[in-house]
Subunit: 217 residues, 2 copies
Amino acid sequence: MSETGQPAPSEAFDRDQQRRRKRLAVLKTAASAFNRRGFANTSMDDVASALGISKPALYQYFKSKQDILYECHLLAVQHGEAGVEEGQRTRGSGLDKLLAYVGRYMHGFFSDLGSCAVLLDVYSLADKHRAEIQKRRDGVTDAVEGFIARGIKDGSIVERDAKLTALFIFGVLNWMLVWYRPSGPATPAQIIETFVSLLERGLAARASVLIESEPKL
Amino acid sequence: MSETGQPAPSEAFDRDQQRRRKRLAVLKTAASAFNRRGFANTSMDDVASALGISKPALYQYFKSKQDILYECHLLAVQHGEAGVEEGQRTRGSGLDKLLAYVGRYMHGFFSDLGSCAVLLDVYSLADKHRAEIQKRRDGVTDAVEGFIARGIKDGSIVERDAKLTALFIFGVLNWMLVWYRPSGPATPAQIIETFVSLLERGLAARASVLIESEPKL
DNA sequence: ACCCCTCCCTACTCGCTAGTAAGTTTTCTT
DNA sequence: AAGAAAACTTACTAGCGAGTAGGGAGGGGT
């Protein structure tokens, strides 16, 4: 009926496809620069010349500089929320749920977006956007604290302040955005394995992980 | 001999003293704002009105906005270096040295400067200052990695990548600057205790800490 | 009483950059 | 081939904020 009648624009190089790819390239380039040098220290001209185009070309894909930042934050918070869902889905102790969250979040962070996400510079967002991001972040924080509180109750996590423990974990995770470069020496898999086991040993009430390595001497 | 002959300006209200106190107030106010909202989002007018004075008054104490940032970074890196010295002074395993570093750093962070330190926005520094700060930070990083490597060798730290482990720790420590408020619910002592024991358990080859809590069930 | 020094104010300048206007090249359609 | 739409360019505008000029108030020394 109301279909526009286009014969499914076929091939891999139709207009919209290209447009989306270019848009993503802008997002990635900008995010990388934002993470490296900071949002305010990155001009739109910087982003443009990094892509080999001129500034106004950027405005075909994003309404404003803040809009780019907003989408970066959206991606980051979506990964957080995906991690929370993973934790809720996971059957087991509070610790199991927590580690499921951490694993899912890190996996998302590394895989699908190089490092499009930004965490700092929330304040650079327009009030309306900032409120939304803050609220969704708070949701993630609450859920993670919930996993920890549950773990403390069920005995899988050694007794400790749930809020402080959450801040400990967020520190580890958020700092990745500052130092991680896809070109760096460590592979995502190594990073995930190291960090998860550091957290697991630090939190676990039972020293289950100790088994895997014989004591030296 | 070459003393200026002033009869030691006596009391608590001599000129220089007041000046230094005002200067410190500027530094603390600015640093707090920088940490909260970011360097670029904080105008000199903001800082001034937070102190109840006008912008040009600030320029009596600091040459430029960047100068304030530079001193914040100096304070931060000095605490890092003090931690490294503490670690080097400490006799014992690599783990002991590492934990001495962490403890000293956190203690310095909380006590003497509320939160004057800034870590992000290194890029907002002038090139010359940035180079210095980066270099000194690299020194701290190397030393911490050294503690970890030593701990891996002497068996006090469970085998793991020293660089990644250092990044894990720096994440925890650096993120404090973002969330810590002196007015917050947790006391510095609680935070130090919780974080140090989380790190110790995560890193230690022997589960020495387990002794302190009876297994539940 | 006078001067001078410190401190701080109001009222500017000037550079930098986000965003826009208007024209040009490219690319798809028919 | 013609024409229209999309993509991108150069050349601007406008506003924000760091830093400054220059003046005024207060206090301590002589």
